[in-house]
């Protein structure tokens, strides 16, 4: 059971989870990043960064 890194509440994932997806914690609102699908690992998602390229 993968839990939130902030408040330890259980996390819920969509069936078609994608690599790198951002999953909000329903309890504390923290944003978790899917670091790998198998094994399923999450980490705290980095702050928003403006993206500009050609």
């Amino acid at each position: 059971m993968t839990t939130c890194l902030e408040c330890d509440a259980p996390l819920t994932f969509p069936p078609d989870l994608i690599d790198g997806e951002i999953i909000p914690c329903a309890d504390c609102g923290a944003e978790l990043e899917v670091l790998s699908l198998s094994p399923l690992q999450v980490g705290l998602a980095p702050a928003v960064q403006e993206d500009w390229g050609e």
Partner: protein
């Protein structure tokens, strides 16, 4: 007047007439103008990526910018596509007696940029983080090398590549690269050429051109800018904050596009 420096971003859009543009630059050089040219490459990169069987993926960032996912293979395709543009420009300019020298921001660390470790994007409605992206935000330039080239009476022509602290080549947005060069060289004027008359109050109505934006009101006018134009307006704001006196968003389809923008045709900011 002549030691005033002008940095010109040549719109990457296909609509730009290379020949007429180079005629204009040649005339400005005969008038002893100091010039740095910066170009883009998004259309050519798309075509080359398609031909090489590695089509580019576009994602929308949280703040609504559409940008290319630049994995390593895409970066190499980007390096080739922008080099083709760079060489063609230098060739056309040399044929008109303009002593152009083609570089990218990677060379001599001309444009130092910060690689974005992670980018938040929305793809098919799902928010996610992309890590293997070779895109950067331009931060500083090696003004010494560019000034030396200018003092040798050369015209630097820059491809939109930067270099990270650790020496990685990075895909840069051409408009922001031009803005950081104009700021770093204390240029008089930054000209951003594109294939519309300038910032339009209600796009795509070409008659709704906004002629002038005072420096203090850029944020409020930014609401009129969509997509790539939005990047140009924010690049203009950065340049002005860093001391560039005037930014002009001009129409590349004019007979003499750079001279027309110099004379204030288009959207003058500052």
């Amino acid at each position: 007047m002549t030691n005033e420096l002008m940095v010109v971003k040549l719109g990457g859009a296909a609509g730009i007439g290379l020949e007429t543009l180079c005629d204009d630059v040649a005339q400005l050089r005969r008038d002893k103008r100091r010039l740095v040219l910066v170009h883009g490459g998004s259309d050519e990169t798309n075509r080359l990526a398609e031909q090489l069987g590695h089509p580019s993926r576009f994602v929308t960032s949280i703040s609504g910018h559409t940008s290319r996912v630049t994995d390593r293979r895409t970066l190499e395709i980007f390096m080739m596509a922008t080099a083709a543009i760079n060489r063609r420009l230098v060739e056309q300019l040399q044929a008109r007696g303009v002593n152009a020298v083609g570089l990218s921001g990677l060379d001599g660390r001309v444009i130092q940029a910060r690689r974005k470790e992670a980018i938040r994007v929305i793809e098919n409605g799902r928010q996610r983080i992309i890590r293997d992206d070779w895109t950067g935000t331009p931060e500083r330039i090696n003004a010494g090398l560019l000034t030396t080239l200018l003092d040798l009476d050369l015209v630097p022509v820059l491809a939109p590549l930067g270099i990270s602290e650790s020496g990685e080549a990075l895909n840069l947005d051409g408009d922001r690269a031009a803005a950081v060069i104009a700021a770093g060289l204390k240029a008089e004027t930054l000209i951003l050429l594109t294939n519309v008359p300038g910032l339009l109050r209600n796009f795509p109505d070409q008659t709704s051109l906004i002629h002038h934006i005072p420096q203090g009101e850029i944020e409020s006018f930014a609401q009129f800018a969509e997509g790539r134009m939005r990047k140009k307006v924010l690049g203009a704001a950065e340049a002005l904050r860093a001391g560039v006196r005037r930014v002009v968003i001009g129409d590349a389809r004019q007979p003499a596009p750079v001279s027309a923008a110099m004379d204030g045709q288009g959207t003058v900011i500052g």
